[in-house]
């Protein structure tokens, strides 16, 4: 029974890991994209559409990622090319993505597909408790790999150093000759691709059908996770599993007869994020992780 619950927690956290990792990279480069929810929805509808029309779930994964990246491109054009306000543009992106996904998805309502199969690894999956780690699906394994690569890229490569320096101070980065806007565009597109994959996970794995607004606010949780993780990729995984754990335990607690109002349990992830925010940004210390130029527009002057 505990293994089944653990597996449920892991599967629930996969889309959060994917979306938060993408947003993390964008934020590290200094761009706050509040449009995650919209990008996830676009990813979800494109993934389901591609999988349902072609009959191939792997095309669905690809379609989801690309679609997320395309709408992220719109965001990038406005925020980077025209230096529009990031908060307002991100909100506009969510409105736009929600609408467009609903329109594209209208003919897909009521259709069902065979979801992404689980890739059970023989031997390892038989282990007690930790065995569930080896009963996941391609995207879930991939999400861990992406986190590893992202972490390595950000912390161990020159490219990652440039990306972080752009986020910490775009003026200095510019003065050093780094192409601030191009770096940020790359980060935003990566964020969109990941949000698209996260959205794709919903109709391909969790509930193999398309429904309008099926993300139901998970994009916003991904935003919270980035902060919860203090902009460190591996902590995103920990945070996502904790979030997933709180969600599932709230449901399991009811089945076990707990009587705490479920609203209070649902508040936990948000309050935990605030507590973590306070804990990581103590007075007088440098905010470790937080990109100093997060949310600020950059334009080169001549």
């Amino acid at each position: 029974m505990y293994e089944e619950l653990l597996l449920t927690i892991l599967l629930t956290s996969v889309p959060l890991i994917l979306a938060a990792t993408g947003e993390l990279v964008a934020e590290r480069s200094g761009v706050l994209n509040l449009g995650v929810e919209g990008m996830m929805l676009m990813g979800a509808v494109a993934a389901f559409g591609a999988a349902s029309l072609s009959g191939n779930v792997y095309l669905g994964i690809l379609g989801g990622g690309i679609s997320g990246m395309l709408v992220a491109g719109i965001f990038g054009f406005f925020v980077l090319g025209l230096a529009t306000n990031q908060v307002a543009t991100g909100l506009a992106l969510t409105i736009f993505g929600t609408g467009l996904s609903g329109l594209i998805g209208a003919p897909l309502v009521g259709k069902a597909i065979d979801g992404l199969p689980a890739l059970v690894i023989p031997g390892l999956s038989e282990l007690p408790l930790v065995g569930v780690l080896f009963q996941l699906d391609l995207l879930a394994y991939l999400s861990v790999l992406i986190v590893a690569v992202t972490s390595w890229f950000l912390m161990r490569t020159r490219g990652g150093l440039i990306l972080r320096s752009v986020g910490i101070n775009h003026d200095s980065a510019h003065a050093l000759g780094y192409p601030v806007l191009w770096v940020r565009l790359g980060a935003v597109l990566f964020g969109g691709f990941m949000a698209g994959l996260a959205g794709a996970y919903l109709p391909l794995v969790l509930t193999p059908h398309w429904a309008e607004q099926m993300t139901a606010g998970r994009g916003w949780i991904a935003l919270a996770l980035v902060v919860f993780a203090s902009w460190r990729p591996w902590r995103v995984v920990i945070g996502a599993v904790l979030f997933g754990g709180v969600t599932i335990m709230q449901l399991a607690g009811q089945a076990k007869g707990w009587t705490i109002p479920s609203q209070f349990l649902s508040m936990m992830p948000y309050i935990a994020t605030i507590i973590v925010l306070v804990a990581i940004s103590g007075r007088g210390r440098i905010q470790f992780g937080a990109p100093a130029h997060l949310g600020k527009s950059f334009h080169a002057t001549r």
Partner: protein, 375 residues
């Protein structure tokens, strides 16, 4: 530089204006020319694409339109939040000439009442509420009747004697359903019991799927739902357990898992009410009693339709059909004493039958349901 930009801007305006001129003749006068068709308006909570609650209303609207053909003209507004916007949208529908307006969610009750007071010559039909006026009626389906049959099938199907039940919110309509399910369950299997998990949402596919997985992990092998998406059934299908669909037939989503689905069939109600408006015989209801003043019908009047019994042995299907027919012809009373709540207190004495007021006052679980109602 600045001048060049201004010129470009002016050009854009000119081109846009030209394009507008070309693609668009001035908007046609709206067809206010009275074709004599009765205009019927609907207010929807979500998009009909939810494949659940609103979808069922949309199917009803189409039945209505097909039934009357040219004699009526229907339209709907979707995604109307249950707040001040609702009153505005309803007024809009009145202003557009609609003579009867169906507001299809509980939260529209007060806005509907408010607008009904302002337009005494327009008829309003609110779905699932309890407030009425001279020109505002209430329509509802006895959803709980179908759940009794579900309980019977579940009791004969379960091997673990553990049933999982997904609830949206602990409101009377949902509690009625749980209790009715438990009555059916216990009528055939005194050892089975129901675990309820509240999702706190009518519609959140991922959370519904999560709750279903949790219930399966807790040992449930038959699942029922009072939420709107097919996510629970899809989860059941994948896990190899059984379940019941909600609001519409969800067979396609779970060909091996769906035992049957209770389909909300609003068409007959809509046709009835519109017919009355056409005849000039529209009334709020029949009796002086608060609960008699609304239309609240179930399986017997085809307001609730059970889909084909599938994925079960023939004898189970036969018992299910017997329960369904018993409810339809009135020989089977779901809430007939003796009945106890799940703490052992007597609710109905032997032979006593619960009236509609009692149904709406349910704030307890009957025997067979585990736990307590939150708050």
């Amino acid at each position: 530089m600045g001048n060049a930009k201004l010129i470009i801007a002016a050009l854009v305006v000119l081109i846009a204006a030209a394009v507008f001129y070309m693609i668009g003749q001035p908007p046609q006068e709206k067809e206010t020319a009275d074709s004599g068709a009765l205009k019927v308006g609907f207010v929807y909570l979500t998009n009909p694409g939810d494949h659940g609650w609103t979808y069922a209303h949309e199917v009803g609207r189409q039945q209505l339109q097909d039934h009357f053909g040219d004699k009526i003209e229907t339209s709907y507004v979707e995604n109307v939040p249950e707040g001040p916007d609702a009153a505005r949208v309803i007024r809009d529908l009145v202003a557009q000439g609609n003579k009867i307006i169906f507001t299809t969610s509980f939260g529209y009750m007060d806005p509907t009442l408010q607008v009904a007071g302002e337009y005494p010559d327009v008829y309003f039909d609110h779905i699932t509420g309890y407030k009425r006026a001279a020109n505002m009626a209430t329509g509802n389906i006895r959803f709980y009747e179908g759940r009794y049959v579900q309980g019977v099938v579940a009791g004969l199907t379960t091997k673990s004697n553990q049933i999982g039940y997904l609830g949206a919110f602990p409101i009377p309509e949902v509690i009625q359903g749980i209790n009715s399910f438990a009555r059916g369950l216990r009528s055939v299997n005194p050892d089975a019991s129901i675990k309820v998990v509240w999702v706190n949402s009518w519609y959140d596919p991922v959370k519904e799927a999560d709750a279903a997985k949790v219930l399966i992990a807790e040992g449930a092998d038959v699942l029922a739902q009072h939420t709107d998406s097919p996510a629970m059934l899809q989860t059941a299908e994948k896990a190899g357990v059984k379940g019941f669909g909600q609001s519409s037939d969800m067979h396609e989503f779970a060909p091996n898992a769906q035992l049957f689905s209770s389909v909300n069939n609003w068409g007959p109600y809509y046709i009835d009410q519109v017919q009355k408006v056409l005849d000039g015989s529209w009334t709020t209801g029949e009796g002086p009693d608060h609960w008699a003043g609304n239309t609240w019908k179930g399986i017997g009047d085809d307001f609730l339709v059970l889909t084909e019994f599938k994925n079960m042995p023939a004898d189970v299907a036969a018992k299910a059909a017997a329960a369904r027919d018993g409810i339809a012809n009135g020989s089977l009373n779901i809430f007939e004493g003796p009945m106890q709540d799940n703490e052992g207190n007597e609710v109905l004495k032997a032979g006593q039958v619960m009236d509609d007021g009692g149904l709406w006052a349910m704030n307890y679980y009957v025997a067979g349901v585990e736990g307590k109602i939150p708050n």
